[in-house]
């Protein structure tokens, strides 16, 4: 009789993968708690300022964002929100991958994808926040075509 296959949830039944003595998982867990608490403040503050203060959602346009990023306060606010949200979210997806992806190769591929997306978004976003120029000027000193009206007025 052929050996029947049992419903086994684990690939190596009685052997845990060799323990790596590190506090990585602990700091990861702690980071999730702390960044989560900070993000609640950051995100709700962001939504409140963008959607409710002043003209509310109808006042939200390119000029509004340009005005916000002219202030270092909002630059830091948005930078913190970007970094914390991206790392918090990516770490969450990482734990889900660890939970549900069974094969080592699947885990490696999925986690690499998450890491690439994380680095790409964080680098791009950071670059935009710090190099943002609402009224770009050409080599001749004049505003480029298509700049918003508040630059010229």
């Amino acid at each position: 009789m052929a050996a029947p296959s049992l419903e086994a949830p684990r690939s190596t039944p009685y052997r845990r993968s060799t323990s790596r003595r590190s506090n990585y998982e602990m700091y990861s867990w702690l980071f999730m708690r702390l960044s989560g608490a900070v993000l609640v403040v950051l995100v709700i503050g962001h939504l409140f300022v963008n959607l409710m203060v002043g003209d509310g959602i109808s006042g939200l346009d390119f000029g509004f964002v340009a005005g916000k990023w002219a202030s270092p306060f909002w630059q830091v606010w948005d930078l913190a929100m970007l970094w914390l949200a991206m790392i918090h979210g990516s770490n969450g997806v990482r734990t889900i991958i660890n939970d549900y992806a069974q094969r080592d190769m699947t885990r490696i591929v999925l986690k690499t994808l998450v890491l690439v997306a994380l680095v790409f978004t964080v680098v791009l976003g950071t670059l935009v926040i710090f190099t943002f120029e609402p009224c770009p000027v050409g080599p001749d000193g004049a505003f480029l075509e298509g700049v918003p009206s508040f630059c010229t007025s």
Binding site: M1, A2, P4, S5, L6, E7, A8, P9, R10, P13, Y14, R16, S17, S19, R20, R21, N23, Y24, E25, M26, S28, W29, L30, N98, D99, Y100, Q102
Partner: protein, 285 residues
């Protein structure tokens, strides 16, 4: 029977419309069937119940194809005071002797007969049939996340492996005292809850993290580590905390509370896991 119980029975006798069970609580179902059958007061009501049991036997394999689990229904007549384990016994003894399950003490102490009853992990010997809606078929499955060996019997070895790895025994240094190792009531109270564990695996096999990642130590191992980590007489807390700081240790817990809900001994499992997490964060017990 206590005096309040006898009063309750007398009160029920006066009204003649309600039965009272051993706890002194009225239960409608018993009353209905007793009066319907015209049975005398105090008689234990009997009713039919269908059990839908998940069967698996490696011997069912045919032509090289692996055996598959299947559902099988049995209908038995049980007493109102019967437990799910009694119904299983009735099936095994009277209908199908091949039905396989574990049980030892049959009184909720040995922890042998944890199974998934109507989707939740329970000890079959602690659940009354009347309490799990006998109007519908009661589903009985083996606990999840451990390899099924036959019917309701699973391979507990991975579970005990995790248990062994947290070193569930007293670790001390120096000379053994000539008298007992003393402990105050407060010191004892810190780990009192986790001493109740009977290693039935109801908590570990109710944990969704364990279902998908069998490498996770699981609630039961952490509970038993907690029992020694917070014991003032024990000196091995650091070693155990280091074991549970593993990638597959306490940080895998998602606090879904399935384990606390499943524990037949009422241990606050999630709370115990959290106390271990806090001890790891502060590196102090």
């Amino acid at each position: 029977m206590s005096s309040t119980d006898s009063e309750a029975v007398e009160a029920a006798a006066d009204r003649n419309d309600e039965q009272v069970d051993g706890d002194g609580r009225p239960h409608g179902r018993a009353g209905e069937s007793a009066s319907a059958d015209g049975g005398q007061l105090g008689a234990i009501p009997r009713f039919d119940v269908t059990l839908r049991i998940r069967r698996y036997s490696a011997e069912d394999a045919e032509d090289g194809k692996p055996a598959e689990a299947r559902w099988q229904e049995f209908t038995v007549t049980v007493n109102g005071t019967d437990r799910v384990l009694d119904a299983l016994h009735k099936i095994k003894w009277e209908q199908d002797g091949s039905l396989t399950f574990r049980r030892s003490c049959a009184h909720g102490v040995c922890g042998s007969d944890a199974m998934r009853i109507n989707g939740v992990n329970r000890l079959a010997c602690k659940v009354l049939v009347k309490d799990v809606n006998p109007d519908k078929p009661i589903t009985v499955e083996p606990i999840k996340g451990l390899p099924v060996e036959k019917d309701l019997v699973v391979d507990m070895e991975p579970f005990f492996q995790s248990y062994r790895e947290v070193m569930p025994f007293l670790i001390t240094s120096g000379h053994e005292p000539t008298r007992e190792r003393k402990q105050s009531q407060e010191e004892r109270a810190r780990f009192d809850d986790t001493t109740k564990c009977i290693l039935c695996a109801a908590c570990t096999s109710s944990c969704p993290v364990f279902w998908t990642d069998g490498q996770y130590f699981g609630p039961a191992a952490i509970v038993n580590a907690h029992r020694f980590i917070f014991d003032s007489r024990d000196e091995g807390a650091d070693v155990r905390l280091e074991v549970l700081n593993d990638r597959e240790g306490v940080w895998r817990c998602r606090t879904t509370f399935n384990c606390s809900e499943a524990c037949p001994r009422g241990i606050q499992v999630t709370k115990a896991i959290h106390e271990v997490k806090r001890a790891l964060l502060t590196r102090s017990v």
